[in-house]
């Protein structure tokens, strides 16, 4: 029984891309439109493929709050660093958190000073570390969107079942639709259409966008990550915007089902519930974060062992917050490329591979 082969090369086909770009030009005329990509992976794909140069002058692609590391507030960064410094503690983190600058150091610096900071790829690796190191506690900063919460929840459930008492998380998950909703009403952002995140949508499905489109009258298109996927989405958003339609379309049906992935959602919902949460650049968003349910509170390191974190203002020179709101481009930052680059990042948007500043820097996007 052979399954059909998956061929993604056609989604990178320059001819198809050129034809879509041509259609976009025709549909848009000289209408200026601002389309937001709600996902860091889109930002990277757009920069890498140089898609902005294919689009007419008036069509602006602005990046949004779709990079989990970037939207993590400064206070949470300080909390992770403080945990890493504690004795008998292994801080198990996803790799792109390592270089995010705190007020006086970063996880990488603490690691070089002897803190036990380990990079994990899966939350289950953090769980394994906890099993292998019974004399220490393992703390996983659970940064991530709807895509990451089911894996983290699975690890928490396993820890509970196996009675593991040295595994903890810093609940730092965030929920995308409330953030998009907020930005749809932001006069500084001014969105005419949303390129909805591909992998978050694999989990949440189409309904949240239908809802958003209904209430905010904004066209939404779920898209994959190849140039043809993204141009196809831009084309449909431009068509809807020009004709005054709103609605949500799924242009990534090879990965995204209408109802998302209910199994993954059920696992996440067993452990997490929506709570008000602070986002870098966006402030506190009602129901914008994933907090632990009461029965799993004992896995919250800040409940098990509270620490005082001194107020941690974000670097005032860094405009990441405005970049995350689509109110500024990386190139609008005076430090971009001169004072801030991936080797010496001043803000998280230059650290994370999914950050807009990092993507622009890496692929030489001019704005």
């Amino acid at each position: 029984m052979n399954s059909p082969r998956l061929n993604t090369a056609n989604f990178r086909d320059p001819d198809r891309a050129a034809r879509l770009a041509e259609e976009i030009r025709r549909l848009a005329g000289d209408r200026p439109l601002r389309l937001m990509e709600g996902c860091g992976t889109h930002t990277v794909a757009i920069a890498r493929a140089g898609l902005k140069s294919l689009l007419p002058e008036g069509i602006r692609l602005v990046s949004g709050p779709g990079c989990p590391v970037c939207v993590t507030p400064q206070e949470t960064i300080e909390r992770m660093i403080a945990r890493a410094k504690q004795p008998k503690t292994i801080l198990a983190t996803f790799g792109d958190m390592l270089k995010v600058p705190g007020t006086s150091s970063s996880l990488r610096e603490e690691k070089s000073r002897g803190a036990d900071v380990r990079i994990v790829y899966s939350p289950l690796e953090a769980l394994r570390l906890a099993r292998e190191n019974p004399g220490k506690r393992v703390v996983l900063p659970a940064v991530g969107f709807e895509t990451t919460q089911p894996p983290v929840a699975a690890a928490v459930i396993e820890a509970e079942r196996s009675g593991l008492d040295n595994f903890y998380i810093i609940p730092a998950g965030r929920l995308i639709p409330p953030a998009l909703e907020l930005l749809c009403g932001d006069p500084e952002t001014r969105i005419d259409g949303l390129i909805c995140p591909g992998h978050v949508s694999v989990i949440i499905g189409l309904e949240p966008y239908r809802d958003l489109a209904r209430r905010r009258r904004v066209p939404c298109a779920v898209a994959g990550f190849e140039p043809v996927d993204i141009l196809g989405a831009v084309r449909e958003l431009v068509r809807m915007a020009v004709s005054g339609e709103s609605g949500a379309v799924n242009l990534y049906p090879r990965a995204v089902r209408e109802g998302g992935n209910p199994k993954a959602r059920r696992t996440a919902a067993e452990v997490f519930r929506p709570v008000d949460a602070a986002w870098r650049g966006l402030g506190v968003i009602p129901a914008g974060g994933a907090g632990l349910r009461a029965r799993y509170h004992r896995f919250d390191i800040d409940r098990a062992d509270p620490v005082e974190i001194p107020p941690a203002p974000a670097d005032p020179a860094c405009i990441c917050g405005r970049v995350l709101r689509g109110a500024a481009d990386p190139a609008d930052c005076p430090l971009f490329g001169s004072g801030c680059d991936p080797s010496r990042p001043r803000g998280p948007c230059m650290v994370s591979a999914e950050g807009a500043c990092a993507a622009w820097h890496r692929y030489g996007v001019k704005g």
């Binding site: 399954s3 059909p4 709103s246 609605g247």
Partner: protein, 78 residues
């Protein structure tokens, strides 16, 4: 990633020759030969090659009249 072998909740999967262990508890009926989208060590869903073809056909047929998305017609607005 392409699934090679499934054992309970875990599977071996490969991408361009690199093999890795992934967790497949969020998939319905994972089988060898399935393509999976993997995030943080977990397969979050399968990729459907048939749908990939349909999307390309759809992009080809686009016209200024608009499109009917593969997931069904646009919901009525207003």
């Amino acid at each position: 990633m392409k699934i090679i072998r499934v054992e309970g909740d875990t599977a071996r999967a490969s991408l361009s020759g690199l093999e890795q262990e992934i967790d497949v508890r969020f998939l319905d009926d994972p089988r060898p030969g399935d393509y999976a989208i993997v995030h943080a060590g977990f397969a979050i869903d399968k990729l459907d090659p048939e749908e990939a073809k349909k999307t390309l056909d759809l992009f080809r047929q686009l016209s200024a009249e608009g499109l009917t998305p593969p997931s069904g017609p646009l919901p009525p607005e207003k």
